[in-house]
């Protein structure tokens, strides 16, 4: 596949080169006779090309929406996520409406009013009414979007402490994520990079009574339907905790604690069983099988079949392995989550075992 595409590229470049040599030929011939200022013939050709370009552009837009809009993320796996998606689809609807109309006008005018010698353009310098109309329409539409957006924003960002969210710390360093559960007291023990020592990699304050029951893990397990409040901490550079499937993102800033809260609403199992994900995994596995054939031919190990899992990505440039900084997230039922948590060691026990 890639070899094929490389060939296409080279072929296209060759065609470009060949065309260019022809054009240079043309340009030599014409420079003697023409003035290099567009004449009626140029205006006509270029006007028609404007229309042709408009056709290309609309086809490109249709193609992208037809084939690529299915690449959009699956149904939001968090409670607030569907609000973001609704607002997104409304906004895309509005902007595509404007896009389709204005681009059509632009290219239509370019074609329709292409210059013809002797034609008089209309001397039309001002029209207060028109200008008022196209000032006030964006004002109204944008006010609607702003108000809608701001209500959603404050809904998402203002964390409701009354719901008693489960507190989880997401800890970032070059180039891995770690999570820390607050334990039975639902309060994270205090921490600072200056306490980092040996096995105490997150720098917890051992003398803080809240720290003893904290649980540190390298996977993030979340119970479905329960609000979670994430506290983010970084030990070295800026990172950004990006949970695309949950429509959540927050930068992780060394020297301060940032936060974001959401309620997971679809378990990993449910997401795997969704039509969207079955299709997507099938496509990916087909691609992987194809790649595996090449690898086997080279005497290397074939790729494992892929199975979907939620993940947390780093989305702020953080160093050379930035592209591979991720953590697996598992959303499961309350019971499964509790069972998993039981099996993890608390910070206090880990430290005690050390001594």
């Amino acid at each position: 596949m890639t070899v094929f595409l490389v060939i296409i590229v080279i072929a296209l470049l060759a065609v470009t080169g060949w065309q260019m040599s022809k054009i240079f030929q043309l340009s030599r011939d014409s420079s003697a006779t023409s003035s290099q200022i567009a004449n009626d013939k140029d205006n006509k050709t270029q006007g028609i090309l404007m229309l042709a370009f408009a056709v290309f552009f609309y086809l490109l837009m249709i193609f992208c929406f037809w084939y690529y809009s299915k690449l959009y993320l699956p149904e939001a796996a968090s409670e607030h996520g569907s609000k973001i998606d609704t607002l997104l689809f409304i906004s895309i609807g509005v902007i595509m409406f404007v896009q389709v109309i204005t681009q059509a006008l632009l290219f239509w005018f370019s074609y329709k009013y292409k210059g013809v010698e002797g034609t008089k353009a209309l001397f039309y310098a001002d029209n207060d009414k028109l200008e008022f109309i196209w000032t006030i329409i964006p004002v109204i539409v944008l006010s609607g979007l702003i108000i809608y957006g701001l209500f959603t924003w404050s809904d998402i960002m203002n964390i409701n402490e009354d719901e008693d969210p489960m507190v989880v710390e997401i800890y970032a360093r070059q180039f891995s994520w770690t999570s820390r559960y607050a334990g039975a007291d639902n309060t994270l023990g205090s921490a600072n990079v200056r306490f980092i020592d040996g096995i105490n990699q997150l720098g917890l304050d051992e003398s803080d009574p809240y720290a003893g029951d904290d649980i540190i893990t390298t996977e993030l397990h979340l119970p479905v339907g329960k609000p979670v409040l994430f506290k983010f901490r970084s030990q070295d550079v800026l990172h950004s905790a990006f949970f695309p499937h949950f429509r959540a993102q927050m930068n992780v800033v060394p020297g301060m604690i940032t936060q974001f809260g959401f309620t997971p609403s679809i378990t990993t199992e449910e997401m795997r069983a969704s039509d969207y994900m079955i299709d997507k995994v099938k496509t990916i596995n087909a691609l992987r099988e194809e790649n595996s054939k090449e690898l086997i031919a080279k005497g290397e190990v074939a790729l494992d079949p892929y199975e979907f899992d939620y993940f947390l990505l780093c989305n702020k440039i953080c160093g050379q392995a930035h592209y591979n900084m991720q953590m697996k997230i598992i959303v499961e039922s309350e019971e499964d989550y509790k069972a998993w948590l039981e099996g993890q060691q608390t910070f206090g026990k880990t430290m005690a075992a050390q001594k």
Binding site: T16, M20, S27, S35, Q36, I37, A38, D42, N43, T45, G47, L49, L60, Y68, L73, I84, L87, S91, I92, I95, Q99, Q103, L106, Y113, K114, G115, K120, A121, F123, Y124, A125, N127, W134, P138, G149, L150, S154, I156, M157, Q174, Q235, D236, V237, S240, P244, R247, Q249, N251, V253, P254, M256, R288, N315, I317, C318, G319, Q320, Y323, N324, Q326
Partner: protein, 606 residues
């Protein structure tokens, strides 16, 4: 007021011109003539542009065919591409330097530096800039900053690679990434000099525009190009010093142990002594320039497009005063929207609400401008010169790219598309491609003024159409991989399988990118060939109204051989007719600004 003093000066100047013979160095290297300086800016900018675009070709190839071996990589990148496979370090270095070069060196200095220098004196009717010496210093500082930036490509530890936004701590700590050693020091020195150059240039532009306008050239008779350059210079003077302060504080953090942006850092097994700083402070300082910067880039392009569009449509620009008002509104709003780059930076969510509000406000003057351009085309008599094609292309990409700004400017929606390819698609269309179209339109249009020769129109047509198709082919599909959640600045998207199905989109994008970059060779050929062998230009090839076309084709120091022309009208009297339906000047559809009001002519407010 200044007109009287002017004439006396002019006479003295004229005498001076006729007797002075310039040496080669005075004429071509340390020139104080604004026309020569603008050429110097243009050619330096174009060379930087070639380098910047070549870098994007390299990393696009890596993204389409990850970790494959290319002889080109090994040849160009040397030890950074062992066996022809690009390394992650150099990938980040390439995206960083590509961004820096394109934003600052090509689209700020190359665009505004070239055309402000060329057009401000010529279009307002001045002999030269207010200070030719400062103008020369401004160019040479720019040149030095280019040399320093490029020299950083050749050092052992590699050039800066923390992204063009150079957020600390990554940019402050050589332990975090190799490029943050000497490479970042050079980046910061280069930018500090660049800022000095930009400030000197901008002050000169402002003073010249305010003081040196010829008799009759009131502010409301200025071409929109001058309004755009003037306001751009003001934005630059207001915001660039803030970037300088950010750079200075970062230099102190890096070299003198201060803690403005650093706190609680544990890296490579040791705790650093920094305490109490905040990277978010840097983000505020950076974007206080960084956001106005995109308007510094786009406003000159808007001015150029307005001027070219009116000339080639043979129609006045629609809503001249509304255009000026929207330039001013954009300039004002541009300084209070920077926070929209930081919705998820950890700043207080209430600030996010404020910045969403101001950001969406800026869409209003932008929309007014787009509608006014459309109306300018309506019922025109469009002369499809290459400059006009690029101007129409500008309006198209500006609308396409601007509209997605409504999504990114909305804090709620930004949560999930922040730092994804959606952002890349948005800003490349709205400020990258659009501003480049403005630059190219300007080059095609004012080439006869700069070099006294014409560029080849057929090559121009080919250049435009392939570029237009290629640019949309690259950036339109990119929105969709962004909405699929693909983060930017990833060396490869195949480190884990979830994004495997986006690989073919990336290949398509890269193919378009290669074609688009390749076709720029036609432009370069046309440009350099026409300088020497192009057809000789006539004085006013596009039959335009503004004053630069009243100067002779041959350049002379002081621009006009005799007296500076006086101005009697605005620059957009195209196709103006008397009540009987005849052109005001018989058989001529334009009335240059230096033509006095004719008999029977209807008097306009300008």
């Amino acid at each position: 007021m200044s007109a009287v003093g002017h004439e006396i000066l002019d006479d003295a100047h004229d005498d001076h011109v006729h007797h002075h013979k310039q040496t080669f160095i005075e004429k071509y290297i340390f020139s104080t003539d604004h026309k020569m300086i603008s050429k110097q800016y243009l050619i330096t900018g174009l060379l930087m542009g070639v380098i910047g675009i070549l870098m994007s070709v390299l990393f696009r190839m890596q993204l389409a065919w990850p970790e494959q071996s290319f002889a080109m990589f090994e040849f160009l990148l040397g030890k950074w591409a062992p066996n022809g496979v690009m390394s992650p370090e150099v990938y980040l270095a390439l995206v960083t330097i590509h961004g820096t070069i394109m934003v600052f060196f090509v689209l700020t200095a190359g665009l505004s530096g070239t055309f402000s220098n060329l057009l401000i004196p010529l279009q307002i009717g001045a002999r030269d800039m207010a200070s030719g010496l400062l103008n020369m210093i401004s160019y040479w500082l720019f040149f030095i900053s280019c040399v320093i930036m490029l020299s950083s490509l050749f050092i052992e530890s590699g050039p800066a690679s923390a992204g063009w936004t150079i957020y600390p701590p990554l940019s402050a700590l050589p332990q975090a990434i190799g490029g943050s050693g000497l490479g970042m020091t050079l980046w910061l020195s280069s930018m500090a000099i660049f800022i000095a150059s930009s400030l000197i240039g901008s002050l000169n532009f402002i003073v010249t525009t305010i003081n040196l306008r010829t008799k009759g050239m009131s502010m409301t008779r200025l071409p929109l190009t001058i309004w755009a350059f003037f306001v751009t210079a003001i934005i630059g003077v207001v915001t660039f010093p803030v970037l300088l302060s950010a750079a200075l504080l970062l230099i102190m953090d890096r070299s003198f142990g201060t803690s403005f942006f650093l706190s609680d850092i544990f890296i490579q097994g040791e705790v650093l002594s920094h305490q109490g700083g905040s990277p978010v402070l840097f983000e505020h300082l950076f974007w206080f320039l960084g956001h106005p910067e995109v308007y510094i880039v786009i406003l000159p392009a808007m001015g150029i497009v307005s001027e070219i569009m009116a000339t080639n449509a043979r129609k006045p620009i629609f809503g001249y005063r509304a255009m000026i008002a929207s330039i001013l509104a954009i300039a004002f709003l541009s300084t209070i929207v920077w926070g929209h780059h930081m919705f998820v930076s950890g700043m207080n969510p209430f600030l996010g609400s404020v910045f969403t509000f101001t950001t969406l406000l800026i869409a209003i003057p932008s929309a007014v401008k787009a509608f006014n351009w459309l109306t300018t085309l309506w019922k025109g008599n469009l002369q499809m010169n290459p400059a006009m094609l690029f101007s129409i292309g500008f309006v198209s990409t500006f609308i396409t790219g601007g509209l997605t700004g409504i999504i990114l400017g909305d804090s709620t929606l930004d949560i999930n598309v922040h730092d994804t390819y959606f952002v890349i698609a948005h800003f490349h269309l709205v400020m990258g491609i659009s501003a480049l179209y403005g630059l190219l339109a300007g080059i095609y249009h004012w080439f006869p003024k700069m070099f006294g020769r014409m560029m080849n129109k057929n090559l121009g047509f080919v250049h435009f159409w392939v570029t237009a198709i290629g640019a949309y082919g690259v950036f339109f599909p990119m929105h969709f991989i962004g909405m699929a959640g693909l983060p930017r600045r990833y060396y490869t998207n195949t480190a884990f399988p979830y994004f495997d199905d986006l690989a073919n989109v990336n290949v398509i994008i890269t193919v378009f990118a290669l074609i688009t970059a390749g076709i720029q060779l036609v432009f370069l050929y046309n440009f350099f060939h026409s300088i020497f062998f192009g057809k000789k230009a006539v004085q006013n090839p596009w039959r335009a109204n503004s004053l630069e076309w009243t100067t002779p084709v041959e350049h002379l120091h002081g621009n006009w051989p005799g007296e500076i022309p006086s101005v009697y009208r605005w620059p957009y009297d195209y196709s103006k007719t008397n009540e009987d339906g005849e052109y005001v000047i018989k058989g001529q559809d334009f009335i240059p600004q230096n033509v006095p009001l004719q008999e029977n002519e209807e008097v306009m407010s300008h």
